[in-house]
Each structure stands twice: as structure tokens, then as C-alpha cells.
Amino acid sequence: MALKTPLYDAHVERGGRIVEFAGFLMPVSFEGIVAEHERVRTKVGLFDVSHMGEIEITGPDAVAFADYAVTNNVADLEHNQICYTVCCNERGTVLDDLLVYRFSDESVLLVVNAVNTGKILGHLQSIRRGDIEIRDLTAGIAQIAVQGPASRDLFALCPTFASVAAQVRNLPYYRFFTARLDGDEVIISRTGYTGELGFEVYLPAARARAVWDEMLERGKTHSAAPIGLGARDTLRFEPSYCLYGHELDEQTSPLEAGLSWVVKLKKDEFVGRAALVAEKERGPARRLIGLSAEGKRVPRQGCAVSAGGRTVGAVTSGTFSPTLKAPLAMALVESSVPKDSEGITIDVRGTAVPAKQVPLPFYKGTVND
């Protein structure tokens, strides 16, 4: 039985095409992926991401435990600061990629992929240490992502956020604040998954519908509209953000996937450290590259990538890029493939399509504005 988010009815009422994703009935599109994609790149769009998992860790050892569970540095985060990170197993491969919100010395929040919420909860229990409590808050929390160059302006138009307008306006990238709005505890962070300026709002499930409707109504002047999972994927693809199940999985290390910047090997101890130290010394077996395919056939996940007449890897994500108007792909290939190598082909359903390597990310948006 698939779950519904608190905004499910709103999506159906607006004509969203519903699919099951990670056990939730979610809208995959409303007006069409390309139109939604362009709306977020140029104006503002609202995403229901209530399916994401929220796991709270509290107690005197909360920060130390989170620091042990993930590869990035939680101990050095300031209060109200966030880091992007991965959570690895002992083999140094990826169980999930996630955000860690540091509230205080005794409280952090992990925001994990819906498909992995149960797995990460079990994993955390299996590695638990110190004086902590682990709680799954997913069911009670709704999450709305407000993304696009006009996202900041949208908050200014909503009475609900009037009392925190200045805080929203001045919020730096990867910082958050909490506020009590009409009695409800709300978290607002300057984060997102689109490459554009954006925010994510965590609020009680019971309050979600009212805020969602208010944002859409007040945001009309900025062309605000709901965005489905289809455009969420193309929007994250262009700035080459990893997606679990594509660039990341339990057969892939963060060093291979281009995430060495979130792996702090200088930390004393964390799950997967030994394996990752060894991998760094010998050099990762694969690396993530960007490919631009000739013609118009679109490479998709799983398409074999060849160089010099032999298979060297596979496409992890591929799509027709609505912004760059070209078929693009990310692929994990053997590290021995030179960065400037020519003669790469992608096997797109039996046709060897020539492709050239292009630097990642494919696209840089307004995320830092």
C-alpha cells in the first residue's frame, strides 16, 4: 500500500500525474517536464518532497555519533549550519547521500532519501554508540522545496512568513533557522536540488496544505507552480548532483562518484574510513564523467560506454537536457580512461553513438545568488 504525502490531494486537484516512487504516491509532472523545468530555471517552482526521511539524533553524544556515521565533518559544523554528506558501510561504499542539520551540541537532523529511510534507520541502530536517541520523524513532517531565482521573493509575499522575512532574505547557502509560525515549529533552510537559488521548508504535516496553497496563490505574480518528480530529476541532472540509485549505490564509493569533497579522511574515525583511506592510496577504480552524445538519441541509465573498442563503464543518468537542448549523460568509467580521450561511444539500444567528454557540472545556476 503506497503512502500519500499530506499534499497528495492538492496534486490530484491540480491535475498532477501520479506515480509510485519509493513507496509514496507522488506527482511526476503537472504541465510537462520541460515547462516545469524552465519555470524553475527562470522563475520559481514548488516541490512536495515530504517523502524524504527525517531522522533526529539527540543526546549528549549526538554530534559525535553523527560524525561517526557520515563521511563529512559534523563536529566542525556551526549551529544552524548544514552539510551534504554520504553515509557509507565498512566497505566504503554508499548507503545513502543525505543532509545533516546541526541544531545544537545535542541535536542533529539527518534528511535522507525516501527509498533509504528504513535502511539508514536500521544501519544507525546497528552502529549506535554513546548516549543518544534516534527517532524517525518522517511521518509527522512535510517538506516543501521552493526553488528558482524568484524563490526568495515568494517568501516575502506570504503572510505566514512575514515575521521571518528578514531571516529568509539574509539566509546564506547551507544555513537554516527554526521559527514558530502561528504555533507551529518550522525549519527553513537555504538548500535544494535544482542548481538554482532555493529554500526547503519543514513543517508539521497538518499545516502543509495551508502553506502550499498560500505559496501558490501568493506566488502567482511570480508564476509559481507545482513541479513534479520528472523535472526534479532533469533539474538535478544539469548541475550534476548525484541521485541515489544512479550515481550512488552500495557498489560505488564516494571517491568514484566525484564526492571526495565530502569525505574527510582526516577525521579520526567514521564508518568506512579504513576502506576509503586504502582506496584513496591505490586510486579509485572508476570516476564519474560527463558525456555529450552526438545526434539526438538519448543515453539512459545502464547504457554501456566504450573507449578504444572495449567497454569501460556505463551511463548512470542520461536525459535530454531541457536547458542545454542536447542529450547528455553522466557515466562511471574506469579511471584509466584519459580525461581528454576521444573515440568514446555509448551503446544506445544497439547503436554506437559517438560522445565527447564534457566537464561536470553541465550547468551552473543561481544557487549562490
Partner: protein, 129 residues
């Protein structure tokens, strides 16, 4: 090509009969399910096709689908407009968005296709799954 006057395949192609020529396209349901279409590959005029052979490719942003020929025969015309502007198929799948015309070698092959009512019923069953 009024939807009610077309015949349909399980793979969501429609066929409109003009004498011994079959005009072929994809249904409104298929074009909506695919989403934004970005690239279409068609057989060439003059090619011989067999019933339910894959004869073309429809690339959408998120996914790809094959075009199956609902009938056997010779391709006599392709719609170059949808090759140049694939979005036409999303906008008008039953008229401007037709794909190819095939001169049928055996019109009795049409007997196995769905009527419009049968196709609607078939779609209803799909939804229930």
C-alpha cells in the same frame, strides 16, 4: 483522424484507414504518458514493414518508446514535420502529429486491432492495474 474512427494496438498506436493506405500515429494516451517528446526516428519511405515490427523510436525527456507497425506493407509517406518538431505529437497526436502512411499488403490484419470502444476499455483495465 478523429479518435472515434481509428483502430488501435495494445502498444497504443492508432490506425486510420484511407482505402488501402493506413495512416499511423500514437494515441493521446501514449503521448501523454511519454511526456515531452524530443526526438523521433521513422522508417524511410519505400521501406517494407511487417505487422508489429518495431519501426521507429520515440524519445521523450524521461523515457523512450518504440513505434510498432500495426500493419504490414510499404511505407509510402512519413511526416517530416514531427521529425523536425517532435512537440507536435504532444500537442496534436491524432491529426498534425501522424507518423507514417503504409500501403497495406493485407488489409485483413486490421481485424485484430481494437476498435475505439475496445481501446477505451483496454485503457480502463490498464488504469486498474
Amino acid at each position: 483522424m478523429v479518435p472515434e474512427e481509428c483502430m488501435y494496438t495494445k502498444e497504443h498506436e492508432w490506425v486510420y484507414r484511407e482505402g488501402d493506405v493506413a495512416v499511423i500515429g500514437i494515441s493521446e494516451y501514449a503521448s501523454t504518458e511519454l511526456g515531452d517528446i524530443v526526438y523521433i526516428e521513422l522508417p524511410e519511405a519505400g521501406n517494407t514493414v511487417q505487422q508489429m515490427d518495431p519501426i521507429g523510436t520515440i524519445e521523450a525527456v524521461k523515457t523512450v518508446a518504440e513505434l510498432f507497425s500495426p500493419v504490414s506493407g510499404e511505407v509510402v509517406e512519413i511526416n517530416q514535420s514531427i521529425v523536425d518538431h517532435p512537440e507536435i505529437v504532444n500537442r496534436d497526436p491524432h491529426d498534425e502529429g501522424w507518423f507514417i502512411k503504409v500501403k497495406m499488403s493485407d488489409a485483413s490484419e486490421l481485424d485484430v486491432l481494437f476498435s475505439h470502444d475496445e481501446y477505451e476499455e483496454y485503457l480502463g483495465e490498464q488504469e486498474d492495474d
